[in-house]
């Protein structure tokens, strides 16, 4: 077991890669009641074309299957794993993103037992035709719930505008039609391909003794017979650099319009330090442009184009990435036009100074300290970073190194009208 110390943060992280390939990380947190653990596979909604374990040909699986599998893993022959967790005083959950599926629990007692339950339920699937059919009703309601959610429709509408071919444009839960094709055999095929320990990461954070927990995990894994895995083969179609659609307007049962402007990312083949620096620089750029202390924010607010729902965000993973800016607005077209104008201005000339950059960095550094108060943040983000060959604890040193020149050159490169797209939700005409 290796120990990695972060002196400024006063944290220590313990790591070991087990013989079956599983990466285990433990971060002791003194003073907390709760232990939080996540068991995550590098498998999400975008992994829909791959060579199944033991086969030679690529297959394309029904949309929404990674998420469906996540639901079904909780059900066992003798009942539901939620019940077992709650008997042990834990609260359990799971989520599926574009690139990951995570299973998690938190508890303040019986932590060893809960950890055993977490690892075992994820590693012992039980799928039957009957329970698969039953789940279609539940997930169908989950999909319908999102269909009525204007913010979700706006978010996904924008991704669909930006991407032509990449499966990031497919809704994570799929559609009622696509999940109707899911069978237990499909679920086993996906499970066997993506749930091998060498494609997974276990993160434990809380008031724990790292030595004894690491031993527990090792003993648990030693009892299971995992064969070495060949490398997983995934396939993605080529994706043009420009946005697929310039604009999409959705009419919904709302009273206030919504508008998001998206920018399709460049360099989505990056990993490791390169990716870390790029996404942090992008975050700083967006904060300088649209943060609450920026001139632009003030102008937008004063003109009544935005309200407190205004936000911006940047996502970058292997193969796709996007920035999104916007929120509720009385004038969706004017907001889209104004945001585009503000972006293009930052592309064409150097508009930021050292003082602003320094302030933006400080804000990010303080934000990182606040974030590491949260065991959930640490476990989820550390896993995401690790799957992209980055280290969460490099955030502050990397931020400190970003220069005005880095920000400016990123702005002139990434901001480009051909990669812009706009999605709006407007009130349905009666």
């Amino acid at each position: 077991m290796e120990k990695i110390s972060f002196d400024q943060l006063q944290e220590e992280l313990f790591h070991e890669k087990l013989s079956n390939g599983l990466n285990v990380y433990i971060l002791p947190k003194k003073g907390f009641n709760k232990t939080f653990a996540t068991f995550t596979t590098k498998y999400g909604s975008v992994d829909n074309t791959f060579v199944p374990l033991g086969k030679n040909e690529y297959v394309k699986v029904p949309d929404g299957i990674a998420h469906f599998l996540e639901h079904k893993l909780f059900e066992k022959e003798d009942g539901d794993v939620f019940q077992q967790f709650s008997r042990q005083g834990a609260s359990a959950n799971a989520f599926t993103s574009f690139t990951r599926t995570a299973y998690l629990f938190s508890s303040t007692s019986d932590v060893e037992k809960n950890l055993e339950t977490l690892i075992d339920f994820v590693q012992e699937p039980y799928f039957s035709e009957k329970t698969v059919e039953k789940e279609k009703g539940i997930i169908g309601q989950e999909i319908t719930m999102y269909d009525d959610n204007a913010d979700w429709r706006l978010y996904f509408g924008l991704i669909q505008n930006l991407y032509q071919n990449h499966p990031v444009k497919i809704d994570i839960a799929g559609t009622i039609e696509s999940i109707s094709h899911i069978t237990k055999d499909w679920l086993y095929e996906c499970y066997n391909t993506f749930y091998h320990p060498s494609n997974m990461l276990l993160f434990i954070v809380g008031p724990v003794d790292p030595e004894s927990f690491m031993n527990q995990v090792k003993e648990n894994q030693a009892k299971k017979d995992y064969k070495d895995m060949p490398e997983i083969k995934r396939k993605f179609e080529t994706e043009p650099a420009q946005a697929a659609e310039m604009k999409q307007v959705l009419e919904m049962n709302v009273q206030t319009s919504k508008c998001l402007l998206g920018i399709k990312a460049l360099h989505v083949d990056q990993t490791g330090d390169e990716l870390l620096k790029n996404e942090l620089t992008m975050n700083i750029l967006l904060d300088l442009l649209f943060g609450k202390s920026s001139e632009n924010y003030n102008q937008l607010y004063n003109e009544g184009l935005i309200d407190e729902t205004f936000s911006f965000d940047y996502t970058q993973e292997q193969g796709f990435g996007f920035a999104m800016i916007g929120g509720d607005t009385g004038e969706p077209d004017k907001l889209a036009e104004t945001l585009a104008g503000m972006l293009l201005k930052a592309k064409s000339k150097a508009i930021f100074n050292e003082e602003q950059l320094e302030r933006a960095k400080r804000k990010k550094i303080g934000g990182f300290l606040r974030a590491v108060n949260s065991p959930e943040y640490i476990a989820n983000q550390f896993t995401r970073y690790a799957f992209n060959d980055m280290n969460l604890f490099d955030v502050v040193p990397t931020l400190e190194k970003i220069t005005l020149n880095d920000v400016q050159s990123l702005a002139s490169e990434v901001i480009s009208e051909e990669r812009f797209s706009v999605c709006q939700v407007i009130p349905k005409k009666k």
Partner: protein
């Protein structure tokens, strides 16, 4: 074992609550102001914190104020409003880095206090009024905030349930006020209201972090001092309950129906059977092992979510579920059966024990965040009780099956609200 150490000191016009802990890398300051919910004040009260947070005398624009927060290593500052029973509460929260985790060691806590004092006591005023421009902008945002409830159907249906169920009671007032009342607010009358709120509200300051108690006391008494006051306690609750269950169906263009059912628990925080009510709710609908989740979702496959939650100071329980329009009768039937089962004591010792374990866990997890901890401690302020957390947990663990059945018998269904699609019944 003391789960939480909370030291309460009365200062000029408010109580200071210090909760020293080493677990965070930041320090949190939360200022709370509480007054009875009234139709006359609710809209002004909802606007006031928004105006205060947008600028101050020293930082006269949002840009100036927000730039200063960024400089303080991205200190966060936000305001929010809540209803606790028939009280309306404004909260002002600042979270600021603890400099011992930064390479720059200049002290930050005092700056956090100074900023809080600046925002609360030194607003951006012109003569006898707030800055006109600011009030104008914030009025516009407030109208949008009130209107946006309509667009979030889950929230909307919950608000509608409360409006129908508590019609004529102060609790029916919306936390953000009434859109029609916004226009009448002026920079002058809002400033009047500001002065009166700081003269009359019950006020509390919570400080959570790795802090020195004496240092905190000295900052607080030096920077924040107000007139002494007596807090306004509510009289007996007004309850307008019809004898029959009200059933409201509202049609809108939605794909999923939202079913919200309101009950009167007839039990509030501080009552001896409050702990049994908590356990009741846990078995009935609070968790993913509860009767509602198992029967509405897992067995009948009718919903993705089906849960219940309590309002502890008003004495309400709300059940919510998102269902297909055609399954209304079946879902209402199943929910009704689960409450009957509770009244008949039809739950196992295992359900009882697992629910207690999960509640214990939930409370201990909540107090791992400074905000969650403050919300839990604030219950004592609202209810004018003094139940420490250890007592809370012990009492909850002692609850018996018989006590839960007694609680179940006190619970009365009041109103069923269903937001249904325009093609209902087809």
């Amino acid at each position: 074992m003391a789960t939480v150490t909370e030291k309460i000191t009365p200062l000029k016009g408010y109580n200071l609550h210090i909760i020293p802990t080493e677990k965070y890398k930041t320090n949190t300051l939360i200022w709370k102001m509480k007054a009875p919910l009234t139709k006359q004040d609710v809209t002004k009260r909802a606007l006031l914190p928004q105006v205060l947070q947008s600028s101050s005398a020293k930082y006269p624009t949002t840009t100036a104020l927000r730039s200063y927060l960024d400089e303080l290593y991205g200190a966060t500052f936000f305001v929010d409003l809540s209803k606790k029973g028939e009280y309306h509460i404004m909260s002002f929260s600042i979270e600021i880095a603890n400099e011992k985790f930064l390479s720059d060691p200049s002290p930050l806590l005092k700056k956090g206090f100074e900023l809080l004092a600046e925002i609360l006591t030194n607003p951006n005023i012109k003569g006898n009024a707030f800055d006109q421009d600011t009030v104008g902008k914030e009025k516009r945002t407030q109208k949008q905030r009130i209107q946006s409830v309509f667009d979030d159907k889950m929230r909307y249906s919950n608000v509608r349930l409360i409006q129908e169920m508590c019609n004529g009671e102060p609790y029916a007032l919306e936390v953000n006020g009434d859109s029609a009342e916004v226009e009448a607010i002026t920079a002058e009358n809002l400033y009047e209201y500001y002065k009166s709120a700081f003269l009359n509200d019950e006020m509390d300051l919570f400080i959570i972090g790795d802090v020195n108690e004496e240092e905190v006391k000295s900052y607080a008494s030096e920077l924040l001092h107000f007139e002494d006051r007596k807090s306004k306690k509510l009289g007996a609750q007004e309850i307008n309950r019809a004898n029959d269950v009200k059933e409201i169906k509202e049609e809108q263009d939605v794909k999923q129906g939202k079913l919200n059912i309101g009950y009167r628990t007839n039990i509030v925080y501080g009552d001896p059977d409050y702990f049994a009510l908590q356990v009741f709710n846990g078995i009935f609908g609070g968790f993913s092992h509860s009767k509602l989740f198992i029967n509405v979702r897992e067995k009948a496959s009718l919903a993705y979510y089906a849960a219940s939650r309590l309002e502890s100071h008003k004495g309400l329980m709300m059940v919510m579920s998102g269902i297909d329009l055609k399954n209304y009768d079946q879902a209402v039937g199943i929910i009704h059966e689960q409450l009957e089962a509770m009244k008949n004591g039809d739950f196992t010792d295992q359900e009882l024990e697992q629910t207690k374990a999960v509640i214990q866990n939930q409370i201990l997890e909540t107090i791992d965040t400074s905000r969650g901890l403050t919300e839990i401690l604030y219950h004592n302020v609202v209810a004018a009780t003094n139940i420490n957390l250890d007592t809370w947990l012990e009492e909850m663990q002692k609850v018996t099956k018989e006590e839960i059945v007694e609680v179940a018998k006190k619970i009365q269904m009041d109103t069923i609200y269903f937001l249904t699609g325009t093609e209902a019944g087809k």
